[in-house]
Every structure is written in C-alpha cells, then in structure tokens.
Symmetry: C2
Subunit: 370 residues, 2 copies
C-alpha cells in the first residue's frame, strides 16, 4: 500500500456492536523478542542495527498474514507520518524517534504490526477492536510461532526470552486493553479503582502508555510481570480484571443516571453543544468532550446518528492527522481552528441529545404554581 | 393591575429596531425629592414615614400618567416579589429591604416608577428602552412639574432641592444608560474606557448599580454631580459620552471581526452551544453567555430567530423570576436545573449561528493538500 494513501485515510473502522465494546475500545497483545548474539538496539552500533533490520524485516514480510503489508524503514518516514502512526497506536512514541536501522511493518487489515529495533529487536503486536484479548493473543502467538522457525531468538531455558529491559524478561508479553471509563471519572471513583488494579500487579496508564495523561477518560490496563507465569495465565488474569472494570463502570453509569441524571445530561449536553459550535479547540479539550459524547451514545441519547463518528473523530482530530490534510505547516492556533471546523462539519447532522423524556419525571418543572 | 399577574408575566418588550439600541439597552432619568419640614427617611420615626407615604402615594396615583398604575406599600410585598422588581430594575436593592412606611408605584406602561421613602421621600424615575435619554428626561420633568404643584418640596434657593445625601443635592437628578459592551470586554479595552469615562465626571457601574458586577458585559453609565449644572446640560453631557461609547463599541466589534473573527465566532458559538444544551446553569454563567448570544444577534449570525428572546431570557432566568413560577421554595441547585431547562426549551428552535460563510475565506481549510 502507498504510505500516503494509508496515512491520509481514516483508520479502518474499529466498531463492533458488542455491549462490552461500549467500554473496551481495543485489546492488544505484544511480544518482545531479540535475535541471539546481537546487541540490543540501545547498545548496538548502526551496522548491527541495520543487520538486525535486514534479517527481521523480510522474515516478517514473508508471513502469509503480511501479504500486501505496509512496510517502511523509520528513516524513510517523515516526522509527521511517524506521529500519525503514534496517534493510531501503531508505534510507540519512542519508536517514532528512531531513524536508520529501525523499521515498521503493518498488515493490510491494520491489526498486526511489528516494530523492528525499538527497545528490542522485535516487538510484534496484535490489535483488536473491543474486548478481544484472547483473540489478540491467539493471533500474535501464531505469528510468533511462525517467525520463530525463521529467526534465531535469544532464549534461555532458565529465564525464557531475553529482552533489553528485565521487566519484559521471560515471556516478553504485554497484554493490554484500552478502556473508556467516564462514569468512574465523573463519580470520582477512578483513583481508588486504579490503586486496586495496581495491587493486583497490573498497570493503569494514559492514552499513549507509560507516563501519559488519561485524555478523554481513556485508560490502558496491562500486566506488569512477564516472568514466572504462563502467557495464557496472564491473558486470563487480565481478562478477569477487565471484566471487573467493565462491571464497575457499568455500575457507576447506572448510579449516576439514577442519582445524578441531570449532572450526566449536563456534561453530555455541554460537550455536544461546544463540539458542534466552537470555532477553536485544543486537542486535549476535544478528547475530553468527545469522551462525554461517546458516553451519550452509549446511553442512546444521540438518536439517528452513528457512534463510529465519535470514535473516528478521536483519531482524526489529533494534531498529526490534522496536519496531514494540508500542505502548509500549520501553527497550533491554525490546528485549533481546523479541529473545530472539522468537528462542526462532522457533527452538523447530529441532533441534540434526547434527554428530555428521561428527565421530566424528576424535574421541578412538573410542579409549577397553579 | 393585580400584582401577581404583573409579576408573573414577562416584562413588556423593550426592543426597538434602532441601530443604537443594539448597544444601549435602556435609558433612565431619576429625580430625588423630599417634603419640607419632615425628616429624611433614614432619620424618620415610623409615624413620620407613614405620614410621608400617605401624602405622596395618593398624589402620585392621581397623576394622569398613573391611571391603572400598580401601587403597593413595601410591607404588603413578599421578599420574592420585591426581588422580582429589583431584577426588572424597577426598584433598588435598598428599597427591597424596606417595609412599613415605604411604597412603590408603577404606571401600566412600566416606564414611570416611583419609590417612596427609599433614601429620599420621593424617587421618581422614567425608563425607556434603547437610547432615549432625552425622552426619558422629558417624561420625568413633566411628572415632577405636575407633582410639585401638589407636594411641598424641600427646596433652597441657594442649594436647590434638598436630599438625604449631599451627592444628590441641587438637581437631584441621575441620568443613566445601560450599555452592552461585549466587544470592549473581549478586546480588553474596557478598563481603559471606564477610567476615561470616570475622568469626565461620570460613573460606570455594574448591572444593579453601585458596587455590583458587570454581569453579561452590561455597564451602567451615569452622572456623578447633581449640583451647579442645569439638568439639560447633564442630560446633554451624558448623551454625548454615551454616543462616544457606542462608537467605541462599534469600532471594537469591527476590529474584532476583521482581525479575530474566529475568536468572536468561537465565543458566540460556544455560548449558543452551551445555552442550548446544558442541564444546569448558574445565573451568572447564563448572563455572560446570553451577552455573547446577544452579540451574535447584533452581528446577524442568528437568522430566522428574534433577538427579543435573548433580552427576555436575561430577565426571566434570574433567580426571583424563576422562583416565581413555582409554589415550592427552590434550592439554588434546583434553580440551576430549571434555568437550563428554560434555556434549552426557549432556544430549541434557534438554529446554530451562521458563521461559515464569513469565515471560509480566512480558513486554512481553503488550501487542503491535493
């Protein structure tokens, strides 16, 4: 695929009509692998990195799942293109900073992607929309098994797969799910929940992984430990915690609707009103308002409109995606104008949230004088 | 007129289609008078206050302009009713605190009103929508001349009309105009303008007079001095300053539209979006957002809608007006819900502001890649 075609088009629709997918945006499993007797990328000289890249890249490209893949060396991509890949969660921020000797391969379904010479020689990940942790594991496990026949992995019978950072040692697995938890945030339960999840040995992070903010009320939950536990046990454990988080979020939504429906409708109504009418909007504000609109879709307040719209705007209104549409370099201010223009345009046919029926019972308007 | 009918209905429409009225909401002239040889209200015993009330009230009611007037003693009004009169700018906050021995008379056109035993025995004022300072002066001057034949005013050939506070001595006149100056606020010129106006011996105050905040970008400009100048000169001077303020505001609007149209549209669009979709809103927020919508009407951004709507909402969404519609005492939170319900309901047929035509020329959307 032509890189410009790929980067200029919106990401493939990620929506499935499963109820759990209202809360779980995506599931992901990644494996870290390295080649035997070659220095880890952080210690490798350029020649070694290029050698690793030239060994791994064709092996990946030759996989049956990689027919018509999008493949590139990091030095062939512009900073803007790399940033778009970050905004689509296809590469890490760290990998976006890489150049000669690093590479990236993505299958045409956009659900299997490989970073070469990021922190490890090989980081392959399987992405799935919604709650599909096990499916993601199955896909990446198969890819890994096939690749293992072609590549000579650094493996110790005692320690397992060797990795640049000891936190990945053993299985090299990171299982994660991206959760949309607006009700836990609105009801101020989120900190408590995060602490509880941490105690179970899982990490809770922001939208772009380690050290990033939970913009748009989106949280990434993943395993911390990679050693001493079977991959399938890690997948199982994370799935159970995610199921609990879904339940907590659902309960928080039900409680808010029962006890504070006006507050919920107020947040959603204002978010919609601002998104549909502003002429300047920062990326951060847009994420947080889109999150509230997404909650409105989950509560069926936006009738006749398709919620895919909101999920797509989450991605396409981010800075690099906006910049990609224009030849001239945009300033932050210009991007804020364009972002608002795009929002108004895309939301112009979405009607106001339908909240009046639900609220009228509780409204003091029911008991007017006379 | 029945007081409940009067207080429960919206104020008479104040809109005239004059261009200056986009900026000048209303004009007002009040005169302070006292009866000879009776102590000022602040020093008077109850009996004296009642005597003054019983002398002045029938004299006012018998005026030809006061046929079918609404007339009441302050002890006969509830606190809520008094508060409604304050919100309609018909009585002062101070007068609302008065009880036995104080009174209030308003003609049926709602443009001549009299406070009895406020700070002075008699405070009569003439109100006019838009820029009509001279008309207001003419009306109150006529009323004063007629009353002077019936009442024995405290007058000194040297000092003029005697008043409880020396700041009103002489003519007892206060000429004022209520101005809507959103562009001077948005362009941060307002403080400078206020200082310049002060130097000309005029006062600039907030929405409810002395010591109140300029909610909704509304400012009251009035004379400070009442002594040593003819009433007509004071009226003339204030009219000139108001004409200059109108010009400054118009220039500020033109400059904002020319240099920062997106910022202006952003403010107006967000204000509309929030007003039309919120489910909870404080009085203060609603005034400030309505002010921006009013600016949008002035700039013809709201097509097919009537700007009277906004002027009416300015009044009817204030706390006492809201409470008046319900039998049960509302909490602040309930009022905030009701205010938002009323806004959504009244604005549901007002379309989004039409800004796209104007802005597209400057928008970077005009130069997309390819």
């Amino acid at each position: 695929m032509n890189i410009n075609d790929f980067l200029s088009s919106p990401p493939l629709s990620q929506h499935r009509p499963e109820p759990d997918d209202l809360i779980v945006l995506s599931s992901r499993v990644r494996l870290a692998r390295n080649l035997r007797q070659l220095p880890f990328p952080g210690f490798a000289k350029k020649n070694d990195r290029v050698r690793v890249l030239e060994t791994i890249r064709p092996a990946v490209e030759s996989l049956p799942t990689m027919v018509d893949a999008f493949s590139a060396t990091m030095d062939s991509l512009t900073n803007l293109d790399k940033q778009i890949l970050v905004e689509r969660h296809l590469i890490s921020r760290e990998h976006a900073a890489k150049s000669v000797g690093s590479g990236f391969v993505l299958n045409k379904e956009e659900n299997l992607c490989v970073m070469i010479n990021e922190e490890d020689h090989l980081r392959m990940q399987s992405l799935r929309p919604g709650l599909q942790i096990k499916e993601a594991w199955k896909a990446i496990n198969q890819m890994d098994s096939t690749l293992e026949k072609k590549l000579d992995y650094a493996f110790s019978p005692e320690l397992g797969y060797l990795t640049a950072c000891p936190t990945n040692l053993g299985t090299g697995i990171r299982v994660s799910a991206m959760l949309h938890l607006p009700a836990l945030v609105l009801s101020e339960q989120i900190n408590q929940i995060v602490q509880a999840v941490n105690k179970l040995g899982l990490a809770v992070r922001g939208l772009y992984g380690e050290g990033t903010e939970a913009l748009g009320n989106i949280f990434q939950v993943s395993n911390q430990m990679t050693l001493g536990e079977l991959e399938t046990d890690i997948v199982e454990r994370l799935s159970k915690v995610v199921a609990q988080l879904i339940e907590h979020e659902q309960n928080a939504r039900a409680t808010l609707l029962e006890k504070k429906s006006k507050t919920v409708y107020n947040h959603i109504g204002r978010a919609y009103g601002i998104l549909a009418n502003a002429h300047s909007m920062s990326s951060k504000e847009s994420m947080n308002l889109l999150s509230l609109m997404r909650l409105g879709f989950d509560l069926s307040l936006f009738q006749g409109a398709d919620r895919i719209l909101v999920d797509e705007l989450f991605i396409t209104t981010q800075p690099a995606h906006l910049q990609k549409r224009f030849t001239e370099k945009l300033t932050t201010e210009e991007r804020d104008f364009l972002r608002a223009d795009m929002m108004r345009d895309r939301l112009k046919d979405v009607s106001r949230p339908m909240t009046d029926k639900n609220e009228s019972r509780r409204s003091p308007l029911d008991k007017p004088a006379e």
